[in-house]
Structures are given as C-alpha cells and as structure tokens.
Symmetry: C2
Subunit: 455 residues, 2 copies
C-alpha cells in the first residue's frame, strides 16, 4: 500500500527445504536389534524459513533407518503447499488448525490414513513449526508448552476418534488440575533434570564384555535403569541378562526390548525364561499394531511390565492400548506420529488413564526432541515423573546445535531456544545422501583410494 | 558356457517400470464420500518385464486418490532391487519367500511397519508377479490360486504375528477340507458368476433424483444389494435412505458407508436414526485402526452389521477385528495390503473365524483385481458364497485390457490370463501425470484454447 514499509507487511513462510541425511551407523552395529540388524540412522530433515528477518528458522526431522529416507524426504516435500506463502502468524498462532489441515487432507490421507511416511512427514513439518514458534517466543519448547493455557492445549489436539476414551472437557479438567503446581514443578525440573535410562550397554551386536563394561559404566554414571535388546536367540538372551544383572546389581532396573520379534505365545515363553533375572519391562514384544496381543502378553507376564509405542502410528492405537489395559508403559516418539500436537493427545490420554509415559529416543535427534515433551508433561499435564524415564542413547548427539545434556542419569532441562532438533549445517552437508562426502567416499572406495595415491 | 545357447540361459527380470497415472474424476463427483469430497482416482502402476521372450509381462497397481500418487510411485520404484536381475523362476516359484523378503526388509520396514506407501508398494510388486505367474501358467489368477496345493498356499502366507489366532496347521486343515468340493464349485462359478453389489447409485455428490434413478436401475440390472455413502449430514442421510428404500423395495439390501467419518458415539447415534430404513451393514463407521471402537459399535447396533477393511493396513489388524468380534463383514482390498499373499492370509483368517469376506472395489482397477481373490476363496478357501458379495462400481473399466463383466448382478468368472490389473497402453499414456495430454490440457487451459484458435 502507498506509504507502507516492508516492515509492516506480515511475514510469510518462504520455503520448506528437506535434506536426506544419513549416518553410516551400520558399520559399528550401534543400534543393532532383533529387527534392525544393520541400521544406518537417518533423518529426513526439514527446515522452514520465513521473510521475517529475525534470523529464526524452524528445524525438525523424521527419523528412519536408512533405505527409504528418500521416500520420507519426498513425503515432507509434498507438504510444502500447506505452508509456503502463508503468513507466519496465522500458522503459528493456530497450530491446531494447521495440524488438522495436513492430517485430514483428503487425497494424501488415502496413503495412510494417519500412518507411514505421510504421517511422519506431517510430524516433521509440525515439529519444525513448533521449533520456530518456540524460538520466536524466546523459549525452549518444553517451557513454551508448559506455559500454554489449558484451553490452547485442548485446541491443539485432534479429538477425532478419541471421544469414547477422553472428551475435550475431560482433557481440559486434567490440564486445569495441573495449573496450580506448574511453577513449583518447573523449578524442580530446572534444579534436578528429568529422569533418564540408557540403552547404550544393550545392543544385540555387542560382546558380553562390552555389555558388562557399559552396564557398570551406566550405574557409575547415575542411571537407575538400563535396557537390553533381546529376541534373536533365547540362550544368548539368558546369558546376556545374567551378565547384565550381575553387572548392575539388584537395585537397578533392567528393561528388555524385543523390537516386535515375537508372536504372542513366543513372547510369553521367552519372557518366562528371562523372568529369574527380574526384567522391569518387555518392550515391543510383538507387532506394534497388536493391541489385543499386548493385552494377552501383559496378563500372562504380570508383574513384568509391557511397554510399546515407538512404532505406533497414531493416537487411535494408543487409545486402544490404554482402553484394553494392554500396556504398563506408553512409549511416545517425537518423530513417528503427527508431531507435537498428536503427542500432546497421547500424553493426555495416558494421564487420563494413569499410565506413565517413557519416551522412545535414540536414533538421531530423538533424544534432543522428545525430552521437551516429557518435561512439558511433568510441568503441566501428568504433573509427575514417578516411574517416568526418557530413553537415552549416546549416539550422534555431536551433530546437533544443542545436544542433550545428561547429568547423574537425568536430562538437564534445556535452556536453548526451540525444540532441540536443529542439526549442525556441517553435519547435514557431510552426511547428505548420496552426494555428501561421507557417502561419496563409501560409494567409490577405489576411486577415493586412487585419489589418495595420486595426491 | 561354451556351446550353450541363449535359450538355455534362465530368464531374468529386466525391469520394474512404474507409471503415475491419474484420472480427473473430481470433475464429476464420481467417488465422492464423506472423507473424499473430490478424489482423482489414480494408480501407481507397476510393470515387470523379463527377457524370457514369451511376450508376458506382470502388471498391477496401487490405488490412490490423487495427490501423493507420486510418493506411491516412488515407493514401488524403491523395490526394484528386490526383483530386477533375479531369475524369473526363482521368484515366481517361491512367492512366499519373495513376499517376506520385501515385507521384512529391515530398513524400509521402519517406514511402516507394514503400512502406508511401502506396504502398498509391496502389494503392487507382488500382484504384478502374480499376474505374470498366471499369464505364464496360461490361467486367470483366480483359477491358478484355486488349484494350488494347500501346502503351497500355507507357504505363501506370512504367519508372523498370526499364530495366536490361527496356526499353520489350522490353515492347512481348512484348505484341505475344501479340496474335495473344488471342481464342483469351479463349475458353479463358471456357470453362474460371483455375487456382486453396486455402489454406483449412492455417491454423496449425487442428487436425490439421480440416486433414485440409479437405485432402480441397479435392481433392474439384477443386483440384490446397493450401497449409499453417508456421514456428511444426518438429515440428508435420512432423506436419501428413504429415497433409496422406496426405490428398491424391501427385498434388496442397502448397505451404508461412512468412510470413517464418526467417533464411536456418533456412529451409534447416527445409525439408530437410519435404522428404520433397515440398513444392511454400516461400513467404516470410524477409524480403520479402531478395533475396539468397531466392537463397541457392533454390540450397540446389532442386528445392523459392521463392515470394514479397505483401509486396514495389514493382517494383524484384521486378526484383531476377528478376535474381538468387531466385524460381521471383512472387506479386503486388492491394493491396500501386501498383495495376493497377505490377502490369502486374511481370507484364511476370516474363514477360520466363519466371517464372510465382501471385498472393497471400485477406484481404478480394484474390481478387475479383487474378483480373483473372492473367486479363489469360493473354490478353495471358505468354499461358500453365502452372504458374500464383491463391490462393483461402474467407473473406469474401459481403461483395462480385460474389464470386469457383470451379468445379472454377478461377476462373470474371467477367462483371460492374469490378475486383471493390466491397463491399456493408450490409457496409461493419456493419463500419465503431469505430462500426459489429459493433464497437460488441464494445466494450461488457455494455452490449449489458443492452440485451438490457431489451428
């Protein structure tokens, strides 16, 4: 308009860039389990940019294990029309509406619905938007979320298909009940950090010696829970469980994780063989889609707890796991469902059913992102961290701008702005697939060797 | 080898080509429902070629509703390494192993697992392989399947995660029980065709007059069941149901289909309002992932039947729908799960639980493909067609090499070789997105108009 200046024009989103970033983790069997013998931890990495001129960008990622990361990257690209060209304040000011627009897009939803690469793509874009909103608000994401009005939290959640388990009013009441204690819990969180457990000792590919050494180290580092991968060979698992129990003593919880390897009957038989070593929970005993199967396993194995969720595609399956009494532990993942919004729905459902949430993390960037959700849950949703722990795996943190900080077995509450998922530009460039230097070198080892000789 | 000839070298797969084919169906509201207001029926279309020199190719498709068909196409491309360069006889001779290799690929499975575009891509490649196998055997697919030994059928099925509901032995017994009646049922099928029902009258976008006219036409054409889309507006649905019931009379079944529109409570309320018009089944009352929700709806609405399945991603969810008594009708889809193999698993599960299978079809090519599964089920799995009907929608059949043939409300058993999903080359070329002439014209209407003036 005449006389107007650039600064009065509302800022718009100018781009959604996506990078295919992969780490060659299969070379060291870090991350090896019964279903993922050789994962290359990867990120379909999203960056939202605006013309606000404030220096802020929104960063987040969808995690994959290598092949297929290109499909995940393409799925995020497909969501660009939802955001590029739109006013930043409109989108960030109503992330509930933004979420629903993407989740319910009538043609794209056919590819799920609400599952697979499209669902994870929605999660990445939403999480990038939340990262940007937190940065613009001058807050770490956990604190931004923890300070939202209960009414806004409810507006962020998609209650479609949830109301037989939890109504909007019930969710609002739950959130309002937590308001009075928020300030005190925030102080406590900042002082003490959030409880963690570690999976670092327990990968399937590790020798007994390495398991023992790392398990002892975990206890020395202040962890009160470790986790072992199981499910490939029963005799191996019994031996490894014995090694681990001897290493950590009786006072430390040992969770075990079968990564979906078993049928229902196998899960029960196998876990009964491990029971003498007092496993704390069995994680992913069977298909992540099998609500009734988990319920059967849980009834049979009591008091061993049953945990699942890292591969659960959406809130509807979590709802049923809770309705059926199928799990003792809900394991959200920052990058599997439709972002912060759907994870808020799951935190509310779990709190409403009185079931603890112990997030899945590890991979690449998952610890950095998911810690914010548990911290917000503690301050303003469930209001407790009793029997709650966030997974910690000591891999790939060096690639992030604000890596997680563990202290005495607890996550220190991050003070840096945003949602935690921002990767270093140099790491993105080095690991871009297939043409970044890390992969170019692996693709043509002879050529690289020849270059070395010639140089 | 010296002295060998080309003809003694075993044939290998030379290519997996994939085409992004879209039909602008949104322009006429064919296919409109409560969740898909404006679908463009599309196919991520796969072609397997070999160097056998026998003229046979394997054709199949994954169905989508428009946007995202490029992602589905890319997902099929990603499976090329599983097939290109391999010996044709090795792959086609053990399609059970081939299926498991793709479904359980440890890195790609992270993107599901067993759901979304990767799952549908596995389905397309497997279905193309089955199409080729049937053509090489000189058989229509239904007849090839119906003549397999029970032992081979069991070897095709992935029993992972199924054994708490059905063991391999139980499946084998069921199949063996059907062997003595196979020949008689095959004759009956060839004589009479397989029962169908029609959705053609009932799209949401149609006027009452069009609904009435098409409903009467359906009865005149010999159908004993029609289907109406519901779920957008209750008063509209009551009126449309009244129109439809008056048009078809009392002797014809009217199924209704909400396409996932409702929460559990809504489904019950809404269907009670339609109950006076005697709806036969309510299809997709709520989320396709909500096993427990369907069970609740079914209990509340008895004797109205509950049907679902076209969006159910895999056999594990079907297993639970049956275990929980959540459905009266199982609706398989030829292109949603991991192909013929997983659909055999679902047919076996349904037969084991005594629940009829009434496939979802329509879209593009879904009738052509899925009829083979119901016919094989009749001859050699469940052994009955009582209360079984295959959906028929009268759209887009003209694009197929061997379109379905309906006669007096029944599918005639196809005699042409293969699985039915082969599209005409001219249709593929015309509708390729975005550069085929059908889409180029829509992208640049002014340019096309200008060309017309200049010509």
């Amino acid at each position: 308009m005449p006389g107007g200046t650039l600064s009065t024009r509302p800022a718009v989103f100018t781009s959604l860039d996506v990078h295919d970033v992969r780490f060659p983790t299969s070379e060291h069997l870090d991350g090896s389990d019964a279903m993922n013998p050789e994962p290359d931890y990867s990120a379909a990495y999203a960056v939202l940019r605006t013309d606000a001129g404030d220096g802020h960008e929104g960063h987040a990622l969808a995690f994959t294990t290598g092949r297929g990361n290109d499909l995940q990257t393409a799925a995020i690209h497909a969501l660009a029309p939802f955001v590029v060209g739109r006013r930043v304040d409109d989108v960030l000011g109503d992330l509930g509406a933004f979420s629903k627009e993407m989740v319910h897009e009538p043609q794209l939803r056919w590819l799920g619905p609400e599952k697979g690469v499209v669902q994870m793509a929605v999660g990445a874009v939403l999480n990038a938007a939340w990262d940007l909103r937190a940065k613009r608000a001058g807050q770490p994401l956990w604190r931004l979320l923890a300070h939202l009005d209960p009414e806004e939290v409810v507006s962020l959640v998609d209650f479609r298909w949830l109301t037989d388990a939890m109504t909007q009013r019930e969710a609002l009441t739950l959130l309002q009940r937590a308001v009075p204690g928020r300030a005190e819990r925030e102080d406590e969180l900042l002082r003490r950090g959030y409880p963690a457990y570690t999976t670092t000792p327990g990968w399937l590919g590790y020798s007994d010696e390495k398991l023992e050494r790392l398990a002892k180290q975990a206890v020395a580092d202040g962890f009160t829970q470790i986790k072992l991968k199981v499910g490939a060979d029963l005799l191996d698992d019994v031996r490894r469980m014995e090694v681990a129990r001897a290493a950590v003593g009786d006072g430390v919880r040992i969770a075990v994780d079968a990564n979906q390897r078993w049928d229902v009957g196998d899960a029960i038989t196998w876990m009964r063989a491990l029971a003498p070593y007092d496993p704390y929970w069995i994680e992913e005993p069977t298909s992540p889609d099998d609500v009734l199967g988990h319920a059967t396993v849980r009834r049979a194995l009591h008091p061993i707890k049953v945990a699942t969720g890292e591969h659960v595609a959406n809130r509807v399956v979590f709802k049923q796991l809770l309705q059926a009494g199928a799990v003792d532990v809900v394991q959200i993942d920052a990058a599997r469902v439709a972002g912060v919004n759907e994870n808020l729905a799951i935190l509310l459902l779990a709190a409403h059913h009185g079931v603890p949430v112990c997030p899945h993390a590890g991979g690449v960037g998952l610890c950095e992102m998911v810690q914010h959700l548990s911290m917000a849950d503690y301050v303003s949703v469930s209001g407790t961290w009793t029997d709650r722990v966030v997974e910690h795996v000591d891999h790939l943190h060096e690639h992030f701008v604000t890596p997680v900080q563990l202290e005495n077995g607890r996550y220190r509450a991050p003070l840096a702005l945003g949602g935690g998922g921002e990767m270093l530009a140099a790491s993105i460039a080095a690991h871009t697939f297939p043409d970044g230097p890390v992969w170019a070198a692996r693709r043509a080892p002879q050529a690289v060797a020849a270059e070395g000789i010639l140089a």
